[in-house]
C-alpha cells in the first residue's frame, strides 16, 4: 500500500515548489516591514514611501502563490489517497475466498474508511506538513540570519528545546488516550448489545437494570475523560511555562540587543515576529513525525488483512469435469479443533448426493473443501486423477454452481441478478425460470425481468431468493451443483418440486447439504452421506 502511494511523489515536488514561492514572498514581506519601521525611526519619508510600495507589491503577489499551494496540496493528497485505496481494493479482491471470509467484512470496510482516513490525516497530511514545515523553517532561518546570526542561533536553540519538551510531555497523554479508546470499544459493544436486545429488555422489564448499567458505564467513560482533561491541564501549563520562559527570554535578549544598538528597531520587531516561524515548523514536525511513524503499525495491520496464507501454485485449468470427485483420506482442523478426520468419499460424475448430519458435525467444512475454498491439511482431493489443489480457481469455479441459504442479491434488475451480468439466450433464461419455479413471481412484477431488486432484497421473500439462486445455478450449466441448506426457507411443497427438478438433471453432479430430508425424495439420491463425529458414512 505504501509502495503504491509512491505514485504521488512527483506531485510532492510541485508542493515543494509552490511552498517555496509562498514562503519566500512571506519572508520578503517581513523584511520590507522591517525596513519601513527603520525608515520611520530614521525619519526618512522618501525611503518609507518606497518601502511601503514594495510591501504592497509583495503582499499582492502572495495570493496567487497561496492558491497554487492549495491546489498542489489537493492534487498530492488526491493522488496519494486514490493510490492507497485502489491498491487495497485490488489486492483484497484477489484474496482467496476462505481467507477473505475468515475476517469480518466490517473490518475491510473500516480499513477503507476509518483507517484510510487516519492514513490521510497522519501519513499523507503528515508528509505534507513536514515538507512545508522544512521549507518555512529554511526561509525563517534566512530572514532572521540576515538581521543577526546570533539571534538566529538563539532562536533555533529555543525552538528545538521547546519542540523536544512538548514531544516529551505528549507521551503520558498517549497512554491515557489509548486506555480511553479501549474503554470506548467495550462501551460501544455494550450499547450494540443493548440495542439488539430492545424487545427482550422491554418484554422482561429490564429497562431499569439496563439504564443503571448504561449510567455506570457512561459515567466511567466521562470520568476517564475528566481525568484526561485534568492531566491535560497540567501538561498544557507545563508547555506554556516552557514557552513563556523561552519566548520572553528570547524577546528580552533581542530587545536588549536593540537597546545596545546591535540591531535596529525594525530588526527587533522582525526577529520577534518571525521567531514563531522558526518554532511553528518545528512544532509541526514534532507533531507529524510521530504520527507518520505511528502509521507503520497501521500499514502492517492493513497488509496483514491482504495476505493469502495458502499460496500453493495453481497450474492446471479444468475444462470439463469428466471424472469423479474423490475425497482421499482427508483431514481438516481449525486450530486445535478437529473437524474432519480421514474422510474418504467418491462423488461420481452425474451422481446425486444428499449430505446430512447434525449441526456442527462438519457438513459445511466438507462442502467448503469440495468448493476448493481451502486445502485439506492431510490427504488429497482428486478431480479425476488430478489433484484439485493444482487446479486454477477460475477454471474450477466456471464449472461449479452454488446455492446457499443466504442468497446474495445485487441492487440491480432481476435479469442481472439471474445472469450475473453474462449473456444468455432468452429461451435458456425462460427454461431456468420455469424449472426454479419463478414464473409466478415474475408475472407479479410490474416490469418482469427488468424490475429492480431493492436494497438488500426488501421486495423479495426468502423463498423467492432461494429460487433465484437455483435458477442461477441452472443457467450456469455447471458440472457440479452444490446446495447448502438451499431449501431452508422454502415451504415443503416448493422445496420438493425444485429438488425433483435438480435430481432429474442429467449428467450433472448434485451435492445437497441439508439438515432436513423428505422421505419421498430421499430414494431419488444416488447416495446419502452422513457426516458426523468427524467422519462420513455412505449409504
Amino acid at each position: 500500500m505504501k509502495k503504491a502511494m509512491r505514485r504521488a511523489w512527483p506531485l510532492l515536488l510541485a508542493v515543494v515548489a509552490a511552498a517555496a514561492i509562498a514562503a519566500a514572498l512571506e519572508g520578503l514581506l517581513a523584511i520590507y516591514a522591517m525596513h519601513a519601521v527603520d525608515a520611520m525611526f530614521q525619519r526618512d519619508r522618501a525611503a518609507f514611501n518606497e518601502t511601503v510600495r514594495s510591501l504592497l507589491l509583495v503582499a499582492g503577489g502572495l495570493i496567487p502563490a497561496m492558491l497554487l499551494l492549495a491546489a498542489c496540496r489537493g492534487w498530492f493528497k488526491r493522488r496519494a489517497a486514490v493510490a492507497a485505496k485502489v491498491d487495497y481494493v485490488r489486492r483484497l479482491f484477489s484474496k482467496h475466498i476462505n481467507e477473505f471470509q475468515a475476517e469480518n467484512n466490517a473490518g475491510y470496510v473500516s480499513i477503507l474508511t476509518n483507517d484510510c482516513n487516519t492514513i490521510e490525516a497522519d501519513y499523507i497530511d503528515g508528509i505534507y506538513a513536514c515538507v512545508v514545515g522544512i521549507i518555512n523553517f529554511g526561509v525563517a532561518v534566512l530572514v532572521i540570519g540576515l538581521v543577526s546570526p546570533w539571534a538566529l542561533v538563539a532562536g533555533v536553540v529555543v525552538s528545538v528545546v521547546s519542540a523536544v519538551l512538548s514531544g516529551l510531555i505528549a507521551k503520558p497523554m498517549q497512554r491515557h488516550q489509548a486506555q480511553r479508546s479501549e474503554m470506548y470499544a467495550t462501551y460501544t459493544a455494550y450499547i450494540k448489545e443493548a440495542l439488539s436486545a430492545f424487545h427482550i429488555i422491554k418484554g422482561n422489564d429490564l429497562t431499569g437494570k439496563v439504564r443503571a448499567d448504561y449510567r455506570a458505564k457512561s459515567s466511567a467513560i466521562q470520568h476517564k475523560g475528566y481525568l484526561i482533561d485534568r492531566l491535560l491541564t497540567w501538561m498544557i501549563s507545563l508547555n506554556r511555562l516552557n514557552f513563556v520562559l523561552t519566548f520572553i527570554g528570547l524577546m528580552g535578549a533581542t530587545v536588549f540587543m536593540g537597546l545596545k544598538g546591535i540591531i535596529t528597531v525594525g530588526g527587533v520587531i522582525l526577529i520577534i515576529t518571525n521567531v514563531e516561524r522558526l518554532m511553528n515548523p518545528l512544532e509541526k514536525l514534532g507533531e507529524s513525525l510521530p504520527k507518520i511513524f505511528g502509521t507503520a503499525k497501521l500499514f502492517a495491520r492493513i497488509e496483514g488483512t491482504l495476505q493469502n496464507r495458502d499460496d500453493h501454485p495453481e497450474t492446471v485449468a479444468a475444462d470439463r469435469l469428466d471424472g469423479a470427485l474423490h475425497v482421499d483420506g482427508v483431514s481438516f482442523s481449525f486450530a486445535d479443533n478437529d473437524v474432519l478426520r480421514d474422510v474418504n468419499l467418491r462423488l461420481e460424475k452425474g451422481g446425486k448426493y444428499l449430505v446430512v448430519g447434525p449441526s456442527g458435525g462438519g457438513k459445511t467444512t466438507l462442502l467448503k473443501l469440495l468448493r476448493k475454498y481451502y486445502a485439506p491439511q492431510s490427504g488429497r482431493l482428486l478431480l479425476g486423477d488430478q489433484d484439485l489443489r493444482a487446479v486454477t480457481k477460475d477454471s474450477y469455479f466456471r464449472r461449479i454452481a452454488n446455492v446457499e441459504q443466504q442468497v446474495f442479491l445485487f441492487e440491480d434488475t432481476v435479469r442481472h441478478n439471474l445472469t450475473l451480468y453474462k449473456d444468455y439466450p432468452d429461451d435458456m433464461l425462460s427454461m431456468a425460470l420455469d424449472r426454479a419455479g419463478l414464473r409466478e413471481f415474475l408475472e407479479r412484477l410490474p416490469q418482469g425481468l427488468d424490475s429492480l431488486i431493492l436494497e438488500n432484497g426488501k421486495n423479495i421473500s426468502g423463498g423467492e431468493r432461494s429460487r433465484l439462486a437455483i435458477a442461477r445455478a441452472l443457467l450456469n450449466r455447471a458440472d457440479i451443483i452444490f446446495l447448502d441448506e438451499a431449501f431452508a426457507s422454502l415451504d415443503a411443497s416448493a422445496a420438493r418440486a425444485i429438488e425433483r427438478t435438480l435430481l432429474e438433471l442429467h449428467g450433472i453432479t448434485v451435492v445437497n447439504v441439508s439438515h432436513v430430508s423428505f422421505p419421498d425424495t430421499r430414494p431419488l439420491y444416488t447416495k446419502v452421506v452422513t457426516v458426523k463425529n468427524k467422519g462420513v458414512q455412505v449409504a
Partner: protein
C-alpha cells in the same frame, strides 16, 4: 438545551466566568509585549528590566489563570455530557416496539456513539471559543477607542468586511461538506454490499466488474474531496490575503502616526490589539455554525418524539382470559399487500401452528399479534379490548418469543435464561433440561454460572437457540410466539423441544417448516396462509387430509 445548561446554575456561572479568563490573559500579554518593545525607544536599562520582569510575571499569571479556568470548566463539561448521554439513551428506551422498529439499530447506535462524541468534541470547545473571540473583540475595540477613535472605527470596518467575505463562502462550504458526507455514506454501503457478496462474485467470476465499479467510486469520492479541499484552502488563502493586506495598511498608518510622534509602545499595542484581537472575528462565523450544528445534534438525539396525531392512549390494563381476535385484519408493506382481510380467533391455552408458502406473511402475522408491529387496518382485540389501547408493558410482561436470532447478554448462562430474575437452582436445572441445555450446562466448568462471551461467541447456533427456548420456558408467559424455533436444531433435539413447547400451559403461536411425525400433529389448530388470507384447520384434519 437551556434546561440542560441551567440544571446546574452555579456551575454554569462558573463556567462562563472561566471562559473570560483567556481574554484577560491575552490582553495582558499584548500590553506586556508592547511595553517591552517600547523600551527600546525609551532607551533606559532600568525600564527595560522592569518591562521584562513584568512580561514574565504576566506570562506566569496567564498560566495561573489558564489552570483555574480549566478546573472551573471541566467538571461542568463532564456532568453535562453525561446528562446528554443519559437523556439520549432514555429517549431510545422510551420507544414502543413499533416506533423503535421504524429505524435501524445502526441509527440509534450512531446517536449514542458518534453523535454524542461529536457533541462532546465540538459543543464546549466552540462555546468557549465564541465567548473568547467575542470578549476579546469587544475589549480590544474599547481599548483602541480610548487611544485613537479613527483607527478603532477603521479596524471595526475592516473586520466586518472580512467577516462578510468569509460569510459569503460559508454556505457553499457547508453544502459541499454535506455532499461529501452523503457520498461517503453511500460509498460505505456500496462497499459493504460488495464484500458481503464477494464469495458469490468470485464463484461466478464477475468480481472484475465489481472491482472496476468500486475503483470508479473511489475515484469519484476522492475527486469530490479534492474539490472541497481546494475550495476551502482557496477561501482560506483569500481571507488570509485580505487580512495580510489590512495588516499592511494598519502598519503603514501607524508608522505614519509614528512620524508624528506616536510612541513605539502605543504603536505596538494598537497594532497587536487590532491584528490579533479584532481581525480574527471572521473566524467566529464558522464557530457559530458549528455551535448551531452541535445544538441540532443535541435536539436530534434527545428530543422526545411527538405522539402521532390521534394516537389512542394505552389505558386498558393487560387482561387475557378468553381470546385474541382479528377481524378484517390487513397489512401492506410498501404498497405490497401481505395480509388481506384476515379473520382469526386464538383461544387461550390452545396451540396454533402457522403454515404457508415462503413470503406468505407468516412472520408479519406473528409480529402483528405480538404487538411488535402496528400500522395495520381492521380490528385486533385481546379479550375484546383493541390492541392499540392495551398497556404495552403489561402485555410484554406476559408474552415470550422464540426466534431464530437470539440476543445474549455478556453474563452467566443463568442470567441469560432468567434475564436477571431470581430463580432456584432446581427450577433452572429443570428448565435447562426441557430446553435441551442440560449437556451444555454440564459440560461447562461453572455450570449455570459459566459466563458467555460477547454475544455468545462461544456457543453454536443450536445452543444459542436453546437459550432462547429456555428463556421462554422460564418466563412461563401466557402467550408464546415461536418463529422457526427449532430450525437450527437436529431432528432429535428439535422433536424434544417441540414436545416441551406443546406441553406448556401457554397459548402458543408457532411458525415452522419442520415436521416431526407424531409430535407436530399435537397442535390444536393449523392456520394456513394462502394469498394473504388465513384458513383455520383442526390439526388432526389438516394432517390427515391436507397432508404435509
Amino acid at each position: 438545551m437551556r434546561n440542560l445548561l441551567l440544571k446546574r446554575p452555579q456551575a454554569l456561572a462558573r463556567y462562563v466566568l472561566a471562559c473570560f479568563f483567556p481574554v484577560a490573559t491575552e490582553l495582558l500579554a499584548v500590553w506586556g509585549f508592547a511595553r517591552l518593545i517600547g523600551s527600546i525607544q525609551v532607551g533606559r536599562m532600568d525600564y527595560f528590566w522592569q518591562s521584562l520582569w513584568l512580561t514574565i510575571g504576566l506570562g506566569l499569571l496567564g498560566i495561573g489563570l489558564f489552570i483555574s479556568s480549566r478546573f472551573m470548566r471541566i467538571g461542568f463539561m463532564r456532568d453535562t455530557i453525561l446528562d446528554v448521554r443519559l437523556s439520549a439513551f432514555d429517549k431510545i428506551l422510551s420507544h414502543s416496539y413499533d416506533t423503535f422498529n421504524r429505524q435501524s439499530k445502526e441509527v440509534y447506535l450512531s446517536h449514542l456513539i458518534n453523535d454524542v462524541n461529536t457533541f462532546e468534541r465540538d459543543f464546549f470547545l466552540t462555546l468557549l471559543n465564541v465567548i473568547f473571540a467575542a470578549g476579546r473583540y469587544v475589549f480590544a475595540i474599547v481599548i483602541i477607542l480610548t487611544m485613537d477613535v479613527w483607527f478603532a472605527l477603521g479596524t471595526v470596518a475592516a473586520s466586518l468586511l472580512l467577516y462578510l467575505v468569509s460569510a459569503r463562502f460559508e454556505k457553499r462550504t457547508v453544502r459541499i461538506k454535506e455532499e461529501l458526507s452523503t457520498n461517503s455514506e453511500r460509498f460505505t454501503v456500496e462497499l459493504a454490499n460488495t464484500f458481503n457478496g464477494l464469495e458469490i462474485l468470485k464463484l461466478n467470476r464477475v468480481e472484475g466488474k465489481f472491482l472496476r465499479k468500486t475503483l470508479a467510486s473511489i475515484d469519484r469520492i476522492e475527486r469530490k474531496k479534492l474539490d472541497f479541499a481546494v475550495f476551502t484552502e482557496g477561501q482560506r488563502s483569500l481571507t488570509g490575503f485580505l487580512s495580510n493586506l489590512v495588516f499592511v495598511a494598519m502598519l503603514v498608518y501607524l508608522l505614519t502616526r509614528g512620524f508624528d510622534g506616536l510612541s513605539l509602545t502605543l504603536l505596538t499595542l494598537q497594532l497587536q490589539l487590532a491584528a490579533s484581537c479584532v481581525m480574527p472575528v471572521g473566524a467566529v462565523m464558522p464557530m457559530f455554525n458549528e455551535l448551531k450544528a452541535s445544538l441540532a445534534i443535541y435536539r436530534k438525539i434527545t428530543a422526545s418524539q411527538p405522539e402521532a396525531a390521534g394516537a389512542v392512549r394505552r389505558i386498558q390494563p393487560y387482561h387475557f382470559s378468553q381470546r385474541i381476535e382479528a377481524q378484517g385484519l390487513s397489512f401492506a408493506y410498501a404498497d405490497q399487500a401481505i395480509l388481506r382481510d384476515v379473520n382469526l380467533r386464538l383461544e387461550k391455552g390452545r396451540k396454533y401452528l402457522v403454515r404457508g408458502a415462503s413470503g406468505s406473511g407468516k412472520s408479519t402475522l406473528l409480529k402483528l399479534l405480538s404487538m411488535v408491529q402496528a400500522g395495520y387496518s381492521g380490528a385486533l382485540t385481546l379479550d375484546g379490548v383493541p390492541y392499540s389501547q392495551v398497556d404495552e408493558a403489561g402485555f410484554n410482561a406476559n408474552i415470550a418469543f422464540i426466534y431464530q436470532d437470539v440476543f445474549l447478554f455478556e453474563d452467566t448462562i443463568r442470567n441469560n435464561i432468567t434475564l436477571f430474575k431470581p430463580a432456584s437452582d432446581s427450577h433452572l436445572q429443570a428448565v435447562a433440561e426441557k430446553a435441551g441445555l442440560a449437556d451444555l450446562v454440564a459440560s461447562r466448568g461453572q455450570g449455570l454460572e459459566e459466563p458467555l462471551l460477547e454475544n455468545g461467541k462461544n456457543l453454536s447456533g443450536g445452543q444459542r437457540q436453546r437459550i432462547s427456548i429456555a428463556r421462554a420456558i422460564f418466563k412461563q408467559a401466557e402467550l408464546l410466539f415461536v418463529d422457526e424455533g427449532t430450525a437450527s436444531l437436529n431432528e432429535e433435539l428439535g422433536r424434544a423441544v417441540e414436545e416441551t413447547i406443546l406441553a406448556l400451559d401457554s397459548t402458543v403461536l408457532a411458525v415452522s417448516h419442520r415436521h416431526y411425525p407424531g409430535v407436530t400433529e399435537r397442535y390444536d389448530y393449523v392456520l394456513e396462509l394462502v394469498n394473504g388470507r388465513v384458513v383455520q384447520y383442526a390439526a388432526a384434519d389438516y394432517f390427515e387430509a391436507v397432508a404435509v
